[in-house]
């Protein structure tokens, strides 16, 4: 492990890069934190897998500015988010709201997992039950003992597969 590897790992662990926020005059660190938290929650509509905070698209910059202006007007986070949802829909939210249309999204994975657990438990139980229900017969036990103790089947033993020549 060289230092280069360590650097790579560190780089991958870093949170996503921010777009250029040089144009913003934050009054204090709290305001900057609030702004960054807000734009990290909102999706850029141009580069859909980036947040407003990550994207360098022109529209993302406009919307960041809009968010900033709304904050300066004294609106709280809820109001800023509602403002964007009213214009762009729930799609701008990285955390979609819980409502009938999103039940599948929110509960689907849990339901799928529960189904898988139920299936696994059932399979294991069935196997145990069938093992307990049909214990091996005397003849089968003897055959197991013979197979385990001997290298080759005894001559004239019970019908096995094809005998070697």
């Amino acid at each position: 492990m060289s230092a280069r590897w360590l650097l790579l790992v560190l780089a991958l662990l870093l949170p996503g890069a921010w777009a250029n926020l040089a144009g913003y005059d934050f009054t204090d660190a709290a305001e900057e934190r609030r702004f960054k938290a807000l734009i990290a929650e909102l999706r850029c509509l141009v580069c859909q897998n980036q947040s407003l905070g990550d994207s360098d698209a022109g529209l993302a910059e406009d919307l960041r500015r809009e968010v900033f202006d709304l904050m300066r007007e004294g609106r709280d986070d809820r109001e800023v988010i509602d403002y964007l949802v009213a214009r762009y829909g729930d799609f701008v939210l990285y955390r979609p709201p819980l409502k009938p249309a999103t039940y599948l999204l929110w509960f689907g994975p849990i339901a799928l997992f529960a189904l898988a657990v139920w299936f696994a438990v059932r399979t294991v139980r069935n196997q145990r039950a069938s093992a307990a229900r049909a214990p091996l017969s005397e003849a089968e036990q003897q055959r197991i003992a013979r197979l385990l103790s001997e290298e080759s089947p005894p001559p004239g033993g019970p019908a096995s597969g094809e005998a070697p020549r």
């Binding site: 509509l45 141009v46 859909q48 022109g58 529209l59 406009d62 919307l63 809009e66 949802v85 009213a86 214009r87 762009y88 829909g89 729930d90 799609f91």
Partner: protein
């Protein structure tokens, strides 16, 4: 018990179907929350006259079309002839929203390619476009006579689409309001 071995195959087929549908959907088309709501208010300078205004009041009172465009937008050039044909059909007035553009370039575009718009608002800083939930030109809205947004198309308009969706809707809305 007999066909149990088919279960994984069935699950697999269901997944293929689900993912197949997902692949054919267009993630760029974000449904607009504006459809069915009153159009957002706006007040813009005209593209060809900075002293005059285009506001939401101009779009009220009759069925109209609002088209968002910019000279930087390739798709807008692609659909320009379609808009010209739609305008000459005379079914409804088309208003333009010139989005984050250069006034000189935009005026040259209209004089060179033809002007399908009754009037074009000049939205240089893109504030009005944000109120309209615009995120990628071209976008086209249809408004009824009361000023309610009734339809939004994201992307290039084609003659086929105009024929199939836009014109029937415009005619229906006109019948509704008269």
């Amino acid at each position: 018990m007999k066909a149990r071995f088919l279960v994984p195959l069935g699950v697999f087929a269901a997944m293929v179907a689900l993912l197949g549908v997902g692949l054919t959907m267009n993630p760029r088309e974000v449904p607009s929350p504006l459809v069915g709501k009153p159009m957002p208010a706006f007040d813009l300078a005209l593209l060809n006259d900075p002293e005059a205004r285009l506001t939401d009041r101009h779009l009220r009172g009759r069925v109209s079309v609002l088209n968002v465009w910019g000279t930087w937008c390739v798709g807008c050039r692609e659909e320009h002839d379609v808009l010209l044909r739609l305008a000459s059909a005379g079914v409804a007035p088309i208003y333009g929203l010139n989005w984050k553009d250069d006034r000189v370039l935009a005026l040259r575009w209209l004089s060179e390619l033809g002007d399908p718009y009754v009037a074009t608002g000049f939205d240089h800083d893109g504030k009005a476009a944000i109120d309209w939930g615009v995120y990628g030109a071209p976008e086209t809205f249809v408004l009824d006579a009361r000023g309610t947004v009734r339809y939004k198309h994201i992307g290039v308009l084609t003659d086929a689409l105009v024929e199939r969706e836009l014109l029937p809707l415009l005619r229906a809305l006109k019948a509704e309001s008269s």
